[in-house]
């Protein structure tokens, strides 16, 4: 998931207003930016939508890494379109966050100086072309699990952004599966690369859902507010159940010797990821944390003269027009 471990903010509002607000949510009404909302709802959403947006933007880096080295012109065009979509997703979500009273520059700077996070998954490298297939298949696949139910979230602008995003995501997952399928059905060396990509990305993909939150108070509050629709374990299980047959079709093995179908539960039993690795990556010690933040900072700094120049030009043009009238 692109927003992990979001702490809900405590709320010190008038209990009567709070009850009326909760009643609106329970009745399935959408909350719009100018409506009254608890301070905690507003702050939690800024953090969650912001982290989601940052993930879309930083998520372009591992895939962008292979655009110039895609194996064919067609794959290159597809990957370019996919990465461009992710930029769009980031923009839809930043706009949704801005309706809550945070400015684009503020939220960008919070990413750049490390006050806000992005998904742990993007701190892993894409070492070869098979990884690009695996990212589309697994990472976008995991993101979809969370994004589909979020289309029904209570906050109107967030819900509308999710609806747009979900329309585009299935292309992302399919192009990834198609790319890795071609390798899995290719030469023995190519198949080995596909297996190796799955081996490395399986557990980081499971980590995307975050540690179990079935006893978390933050999670309970967010679920009452309908800004979180399922527990992390529910979504992770759904992802495993969906992905296992897809791997089987490719003739690839999920790197979990204890993975097996549980007839009683009607789900696959699987091994949890190593959560100490997850917390370490979140703290900044993943393989690519430093590179990712450096790349975003460089893009922001290098683009400053363009942003300033275009704005100065626009102001000058407007002043000239004004004078002529």
């Amino acid at each position: 998931m692109y927003a992990q471990m979001i702490k809900s903010e405590a709320t010190q509002d008038d209990p009567e207003k709070l009850a009326a607000f909760q009643a609106r949510i329970d009745a399935g009404e959408k909350i719009e930016p100018k409506d009254w909302m608890p301070e905690g709802y507003r702050k939690t959403l800024i953090r969650q939508i912001g982290q989601h947006a940052h993930s879309e933007i930083v998520g372009q880096l591992p895939e962008g890494n292979w655009i110039t080295r895609a194996p064919t012109l067609e794959r290159k065009a597809i990957l370019l379109a996919k990465v461009q979509d992710e930029a769009g997703h980031g923009l839809y979500l930043y706009c949704a966050a801005e309706t809550l009273g945070v400015s684009r520059d503020e939220i960008t700077e919070m990413l750049l100086d490390g006050r806000m996070k992005y998904s742990s998954i993007f701190n892993y490298p894409t070492l070869n072309w098979a990884d690009i297939g695996a990212v589309g298949w697994l990472v976008d696949g995991a993101a979809i699990m969370n994004q589909v139910p979020l289309q029904r979230t209570s906050f109107g602008p967030y819900s509308r952004a999710m609806i747009r995003i979900c329309k585009e995501e299935s292309f992302h997952q399919r192009q990834g599966y198609d790319a890795i399928r071609q390798m899995a059905e290719g030469t023995p060396e190519q198949k080995k690369m596909a297996q190796d990509a799955l081996n490395r990305l399986w557990y980081p993909s499971l980590m995307m859902f975050g540690p179990s939150d079935k006893d978390s108070v933050h999670s309970a509050q967010s679920m009452a507010w309908k800004i979180k629709m399922n527990t992390n374990d529910e979504l992770r299980q759904k992802f495993v159940d969906q992905t296992v047959p897809q791997a089987e079709y490719l003739g690839l093995t999920i790197p979990d010797p204890d993975l097996k179908w549980n007839d009683e539960r009607g789900h696959y039993d699987y091994t949890d990821p190593d959560w100490s690795e997850f917390f370490d990556v979140i703290k900044g010690n993943g393989p690519c944390n430093v590179d990712r933040l450096a790349a975003r900072n460089k893009a922001w700094d290098d683009g400053a003269w363009v942003r300033d120049g275009l704005l100065a030009h626009a102001k000058k043009k407007a002043a000239r027009q004004h004078a002529a009238e």
Partner: protein, 94 residues
């Protein structure tokens, strides 16, 4: 002092003769760039044939607290809907 690009609201008219519809917003230094950016952000899959951009701070909006006085009066006027009237079957489609 921060030099942030202003926010623009984007309206797109789809293929089938519908009105322009609000699709979202974006930042741009001026209207011309807002249209260019809107093309990239909101029409990557043939979503539209025409784009309107309006600077967000030029939009005046009704306030959520006016909901009652603005919209409640129409609730009691059920006769504005054709289904209010019973038309005898013999008369045919109407």
């Amino acid at each position: 002092m921060k030099n942030e690009w202003p926010l623009w609201e984007i309206f797109i008219r789809g293929q089938h003769g519908m009105s322009h519809r609000h699709v979202g917003s974006l930042h741009a230094p001026d209207a011309e760039m807002a249209i260019k950016n809107a093309r990239d952000v909101y029409t990557r899959r043939n979503e539209g044939v025409s784009i309107w951009v309006v600077e967000a701070n030029h939009i005046a909006a009704s306030s959520p607290s006016d909901k009652g006085p603005l919209y409640e009066p129409s609730e009691s006027k059920v006769y504005r809907h054709p289904t209010f009237f019973d038309i005898p079957e013999e008369v045919g489609a109407m």
